[in-house]
Amino acid sequence: MPPVQTWVDSSGRRTQTCDKCGTRPAGQPHTPSALRRLVRRWFGVPILGATRRPLGLDDGSRSSRRLPAPCRTTETGYSIQRSQADPISSDSILSDPVSPTPPRPVAPPHATRLSFGAHDELLRSRRLSPIEEQPCCIIDRLGRRVMSRALLATTAVLGSVALGGTGLVLLVRSRRRAASPRGTEESRSRWRAVTINRTPEEVMPGGQPPVPLAELGDRVEVEVRPAPGGKGAELRARLTTDHAVGRMSRLAGSDPRLEVRAALRRSKQLLEVGEVLQVDPRPHGHRPSTLQGKLVDTMARRAGGEGVL
């Protein structure tokens, strides 16, 4: 049984030496897959493209250091660190068979600096080729095998999907709250405002709100304040009472916020132009009764009170 060493990966996590190979951290490439063995047997060439995370080797001092990324990367994703003392060509590495017995782990001097280089040196010392490297298992500090490779992959995929899905749902919900609120607390608290090209005194003379807002009575709270940059006055209104509003009430047109928006817009037009612009009745040709047509009509009918105001 090789001595147990502690390895530190790029995220600072410690793992111990794999009890199968004794040369590298648990969870790192170890055993070639059946497919890779077949491809190499039939075609005599390895499948390239195996990738590994950078690893640091804690050389006994247990000083966990985050190691820099490999200095150079080959097409296999490996960093080549040639040792002058033990020159081994890549050809000889690839052509050598798998060593039948795992040697003792020997951490070369630069293993603490460059993780891939450390691995390559270990590979050379064991006469292993890069294609032999496959993930094996996760081993905890007590040397117990806690997760198989397949389970690890499955967990990773499912976890990513779950996290992504959760994030998407949260994003949609937060945007929905921001853009088209349906919670009762939001309908109560949010001020809706229009900026009017008039002075605050002209907008609410003597504190009296414009007629469309005054018609809503005590259902709304109204205030006015100067707009910055000489842009006039900000006329603001919000509901004074809680209303249980949701999608259905919005679809049904009973959402009280529709009235607030429409009253604000009408107030603005009256104050700026002196009249509320009408569009109907207007000339039009034959309007067939279609679903699309009804949808467009409904959208237009609600357009005075809806929106992001």
Binding site: V194, T195, N197, K231, G232, R261, R265, K268, Q269, E272, V273, G274, E275, V276, L277, Q278, V279, D280, P281, R282, P283, H284, G285, H286, R287, P288, T290, G293, V296, D297, M299, A300, R302, A303, G304, G305, E306, G307, V308, L309
Partner: protein
């Protein structure tokens, strides 16, 4: 009265509709003398702009005679010959006071639709779907003009109806693109699209001091008009490489200012066109920005771009990297016509701007469907089909 109505995707018909009425004190009723088709109508016709309702009366570029005024109208009287801006603006809100008339707060009675689509509501435009107000259009014998004191302009004596017609939309739109893109004397300006708006933008660029103006299109009759009527250079993108040609003519720099006057149904040669076309038909994006991409690519470092073409929603493969890394200034707008129309009418009267040649096909309103088909398919050298509702 008779009116040309949109009845479905690529379908129009002339129908009998109710006469318009004064609904607000600041309204006027105009008897339409001439009403032009516009390239942006084709987006409505093709169903690319949401909010069209079967039966909507088309047309937003028109001139005519005032036959009725509301109680609050001060500048006009019955009998005035006027050209009317295609955008409806109150003239009183902060945006109108800044001369940003197409951003008017009060002109659009359906603000929620454009708020939902763009974040804020823009002003209304005649006959441009429920999105932009839902007002009836000008391909009719009569039209109601809201805020007529602001949007209707008297036509000077000596300016023909046909010349004044294009002061309604094409000429001020083109002028605005040249004006707001920041042309300075000595600049090279490239304009994509040799339709009415593109030609007017090219002429405006020349009048604003551009040393070299190059218009890009593929239709020979339009390129010929650019050379003969506008006096600008041309590039035929169906036979030349636009980028190489523009580089060659600008000493390798590229145009200082690029104006895109094509819009959401851009045509192009090659795979890029089909990519955009397929995605648009599948509604995976709403607009085909082919010409806009090329303009961004062609523009010199630190140059300026202006999108005059109509875009409604979202586009794919937008070269933001080129804008950022070349330090470009990119603007766009619907026309702030009220700002430019009086000056344009004066320039037409003075002979600085020629517009009549755009009206290649003038016809009675009863031939409206054929006129639109001809205009859409670029048949018979049609640059603009113009209708005479009174005839």
């Amino acid at each position: 009265m008779k009116a040309l109505c949109w009845t479905g995707v690529n379908k129009t018909s002339v129908e009998t509709v109710e006469d318009p009425a004064i609904l607000n004190d600041r309204d006027a009723i105009v008897k339409v003398t001439l009403s032009s088709t516009c390239g942006s109508d084709l987006h409505l016709l093709g169903g690319y702009i949401p909010g069209m309702r079967a039966g909507d009366v088309l047309g937003h570029e028109f001139m005519g005679e005032i036959v009725e005024v509301g109680a609050a109208i001060r500048k006009h009287r019955v009998g005035d010959r006027v050209v009317v801006c295609s955008f409806i603006s109150c003239g009183r809100c902060w945006y109108c006071r800044q001369e940003l008339y197409s951003l008017c707060d009060n002109g659009n009675p359906n603000p929620a639709l454009t708020e939902a689509l763009w974040g804020s509501s823009s002003s209304a435009c005649f006959a441009y779907s429920q999105l932009l107000g839902g007002f009836a259009g000008s391909h009719a014998e009569y039209i109601r003009v809201p805020y007529a004191d602001e949007g209707a302009f008297p036509i000077p004596d000596g300016v023909s109806d046909l010349s004044a017609l294009f002061a309604s939309d094409a000429a001020p739109t083109g002028w605005m693109g040249a004006d707001l893109s920041g042309i300075t004397p000595g600049d090279t300006v490239a304009v994509w699209g040799a339709g009415g708006v593109g030609q007017m933008a090219a002429r405006a660029a020349m009048l604003l001091g551009a040393e070299q103006v190059i218009v890009v299109d593929r239709l020979p009759e339009r390129l010929a008009q650019v050379q003969s009527q506008i006096g600008a250079d041309t590039v035929d993108y169906s036979s030349d490489s636009v980028i190489a040609e523009l580089k060659e003519r600008t000493g390798g720099r590229g145009p200082d200012v690029c104006i895109e006057a094509v819009g959401m149904e851009a045509h192009a040669m090659g795979a890029q066109f089909w990519y955009d076309q397929i995605k648009q038909q599948l509604r995976l994006h709403t607009d085909r920005p082919t010409a806009l991409r090329e303009a961004i690519y062609a523009c010199r470092k630190g140059g300026s771009l202006f999108a005059l073409g109509v875009y409604g929603g979202v586009v794919d493969k937008f070269p933001l990297g080129a804008i950022v890394n070349k330090g470009l200034t990119f603007r766009g707008a619907q026309q702030h016509g009220h700002r430019y129309i009086p000056m344009i009418l004066d320039r037409i009267a003075a002979g600085d701007i020629a517009t009549e040649h755009l009206a290649t096909h003038v016809m009675p309103l009863a031939d409206g469907p054929q006129g639109y088909a001809m205009f859409k398919n670029k048949q018979d050298g049609c640059v603009r089909a113009v209708f005479r509702p009174a005839s």
